[in-house]
């Protein structure tokens, strides 16, 4: 029943698109004000998709196995929370969520852009409707979430247990808010190009959308990363896995756009660059969806795959890119602004330089991610590109990047000079000395670590100085940059001071090394709603003699029959202690991994700080208005 309502509601939403387009075209040259009907139908479209989405949620909650999506991804014994989050934990449901956010955002856009020109609003709506129609067709044709199965199965197939997790329940919606937010930027950039409206005013208007999508995208990536850290049991937070990379690429592009928009707003330069970035960001977001959903990525977490779907998204993506190129080349007039005077020493130059660095990072990630696909298509040679590739190419360029990030905010717009900037050198020297003191006693690569740490400390100290010097001026930028320096520092220290032990133990055995003594005490069993837990008890004694009880867990899920391990993590402000336990079929041995991960929690905190910086910028604007 709920499925039926959902399906027809979805069709009605699709139908609304045509009404919206029809009224928009009529209204375009007609009157001065926006036709009320357009707004109403945009609302109805959103409303229908909401109904449809709720229809799917209800089907999941009541375990209606006549619905194919529910049958494939749910089970009666699954806890209610995961029944609901299972709605978007699969391909069909997650696309419906995409659509929901798409329609929500365009409605909000219309509400929030009242002071803008009518033609600009309508054109943005039209471009957005093209995307929306594409997604409707995709959903209804290749991945209908409301397909029937007869006879009705008694029991569902269950949700992949590693997805039954609170962080991963909210990870897709948050990430999608970021992805889809970029669609509004895309549509409005195209509308702006058509109307020759890419200017200070446009920048001022679209800035909010850029910030909102950027905050959500950052948070979405963070949630995914936290999940990978404690759920996958590898003890890391970033693996340069293709699925991670495809979320990093739009992030890099969006971050670049965010800085570029600020320059556009202040100086009315870099117009074309802003347009190109708007298009790139959205194209990359679509690419992300395509690569994850098509199954062509050889990834450790390819969840759903179907070549037909991949082909559809690919064609759709090409149409959108072609459309945007067409609009860009035919409508974009680069007014001759008597050769922009870009001074070497100015804020905009610093931002532009870091724009190019970020583009470089983007190209590296892009090539590392898609090269294996191309090579396989062309030569059928199967390869993978691992972390060393990314580290080697990104880390050296991170050094100037960090330094420019520290210097840029110290400069003025238009023209600045380097007088009274002696403190910069002073801070650089302090950072260097501090780094040498830390690094010299460690058996690590002295050269790279010193330079890298110096650059990170430099940014760290300069931003701290700015907190005192500038007070509340530019607070959002300051917090975000401070967060970034903290992130790099935490990652570096985490890398340098991490410690790990991997061993196989039987119950009752003890592992001894010069640093730790790990005794495997016993195991307990516990029955939960949809899994059986095996909880190990370990006593860890370190060289200082303090002891610690760790109890990692194995979960044997009933449906699907999968074993997952739950790491036991003891977190404090300085260090994380992390233990996972795996078992090998029909063997007495358990595979134990014990890790000391310093500053782990600071990696999360610093990313939250970065988001917080963006958030302040949003509210500050409201306050000033």
């Amino acid at each position: 029943m709920a499925s039926l309502v959902g399906y027809y509601s979805l069709l009605s939403g699709f139908f609304c698109s045509f009404l919206i387009i029809y009224f928009s075209i009529i209204n375009f040259n007609d009157t001065k004000i926006l036709d009320k009907r357009i707004l109403s139908f945009t609302f109805f479209q959103f409303f229908f998709v909401v109904i449809s989405f709720f229809g799917l949620i209800i089907s999941f909650v009541v375990s209606d196995f006549s619905n194919e999506t529910v049958f494939n991804h749910s089970h009666t014994t699954k806890p209610l929370f995961y029944k609901i989050s299972g709605t978007w934990g699969n391909h069909e449901g997650s696309l419906l969520l995409w659509l929901l956010v798409l329609t929500l955002f365009i409605y909000l856009f219309l509400l929030k852009s009242v002071e803008q020109k009518k033609s600009y609003r309508i054109l943005t709506l039209l471009f957005q409707e093209i995307i929306i129609i594409g997604f409707f067709v995709f959903l209804i044709k290749t991945s209908n979430p409301f397909n029937y199965i007869t006879p009705i199965p008694k029991e569902g197939l269950g949700l992949n247990p590693i997805l039954q997790d609170p962080a991963l329940a909210i990870h897709p919606p948050v990430l999608y808010l970021g992805y889809v937010g970029s669609s509004i930027i895309f549509s409005s950039a195209l509308a702006g190009v058509t109307l020759n409206y890419i200017s200070k005013d446009w920048a001022k208007h679209i800035k909010n959308w850029v910030f909102i999508s950027w905050i959500f995208l950052t948070l979405g990536i963070l949630l995914g990363s936290i999940w990978a850290y404690y759920e996958l049991g590898w003890g890391g937070f970033w693996f340069w896995d293709p699925v991670e990379n495809v979320s990093l690429m739009p992030w890099l592009s969006l971050t670049t756009l965010l800085h570029c928009i600020l320059v556009l707003e202040k100086r009315n330069i870099l117009n074309s660059w802003a347009i190109i970035l708007s298009i790139t960001t959205f194209a990359l977001s679509m690419c992300g969806t395509f690569l994850v959903r098509s199954g062509i990525l050889n990834s450790v977490h390819t969840f759903a795959n179907d070549p037909e779907r991949g082909l559809f998204i690919l064609i759709f993506l090409f149409i959108l890119i072609f459309l945007s190129f067409f609009v860009f080349f035919f409508f974009h007039k680069n007014e001759n602004k008597t050769l922009i005077n870009l001074n070497w020493v100015s804020k905009e130059t610093a931002i532009l330089i870091n724009n190019w660095f970020m583009m470089y990072f983007l190209i590296v990630v892009l090539i590392g991610t898609v090269y294996p696909i191309f090579l396989e298509v062309i030569t059928s040679e199967k390869i993978s590109v691992g972390p060393p590739f990314f580290h080697k190419l990104i880390i050296p360029f991170l050094i100037p990047f960090l330094i420019f990030m520290a210097i840029g905010p110290q400069l003025k717009w238009i023209k600045s000079n380097l007088k009274n900037k002696l403190y910069l050198i002073l801070f650089l020297i302090i950072s260097f000395i501090l780094t040498v003191l830390i690094v010299k006693n460690l058996s690590i690569n002295f050269f790279t670590n010193t330079i890298l740490l110096t650059a990170a400390f430099f940014l760290f100290f300069i931003t701290i100085r700015d907190f005192f010097k500038k007070k509340f001026n530019n607070l959002s930028q300051n917090i975000a940059h401070f967060g970034f320096s903290l992130l790099i520092l935490s990652i570096l220290f985490n890398n340098i001071f991490s410690n790990e032990i991997i061993t196989n133990l039987k119950i009752g055995e003890t592992f001894v090394s010069d640093k730790f003594k790990i005794s495997f005490k016993d195991i307990n069993q516990k029955d939960e709603q949809n899994y059986k837990a095996i909880i190990g008890k370990f006593e860890v004694i370190d060289s200082k003699g303090s002891n610690l009880i760790m109890s990692p867990e194995l979960r044997i899920y009933n449906q699907p029959n999968i074993v997952t391990s739950e790491a036991d993590i003891k977190t404090n402000l300085l260090t994380d202690k992390f233990m996972t336990m795996n078992f090998v079929q029909n063997q007495e041995y358990f595979n134990i991994r014990y890790q000391i991960k310093p500053f782990m929690v600071w990696i999360w905190i610093s990313v939250i700080l970065i988001c917080f910086g963006g958030l302040i910028s949003l509210f500050k604007k409201k306050y000033e208005n």
Binding site: E381, K382, V385, G386, L505, P560, N582, Q585
Partner: protein
């Protein structure tokens, strides 16, 4: 001959082109060095030379072949045509089991002996890495 602005423009274009080509060169160069090839046991058998590069192998874990000790894990990877012995110490993913697909990363010692540094985790009991599937289909 040319005005100052024109010269400046030329300089800019030149600079950007140099940087661009330099970075592309850099990327391709390190791509060459850091790529990990995937081989099936059969492909390894017909390998002309064994070098020190990191590779990945994939196939099925042979039944009754897992042998576990405190420090080491030994098993046999098969594509039902050829086999290869693998020795490994490190984290063992939960889905690692006899009769299931596996991908291991590491170094080839000779044509029938592989020293693994990583066993890749997979998230789904039905999931088979595309490479393994293909290797199995080809048999």
């Amino acid at each position: 001959m040319y005005g100052r602005k024109v010269k400046l423009r030329f300089f800019f274009v030149f600079l950007i082109l140099t940087i661009l080509s330099l970075s592309i060169f850099l990327i391709l160069k390190s791509l060459e060095e850091n790529v990990v090839y995937f081989k099936s046991p059969t492909e390894i058998k017909i390998l002309s030379e064994i070098n020190n590069n990191k590779i990945r192998i994939g196939g099925m874990v042979k039944e009754n072949s897992i042998l576990i000790e405190e420090k080491k894990l030994k098993f046999v990877v098969t594509d039902f045509k050829n086999e290869i012995n693998v020795v490994y110490s490190g984290v063992i993913p939960n889905l690692f089991a006899e009769g299931k697909g596996v991908v291991a990363e590491g170094f080839l010692k000779d044509r029938s002996f592989f020293s693994a540094t990583k066993i890749l985790a997979k998230h789904d009991e039905n999931y088979m890495p595309p490479e393994v599937k293909k290797a199995l289909e080809e048999k």
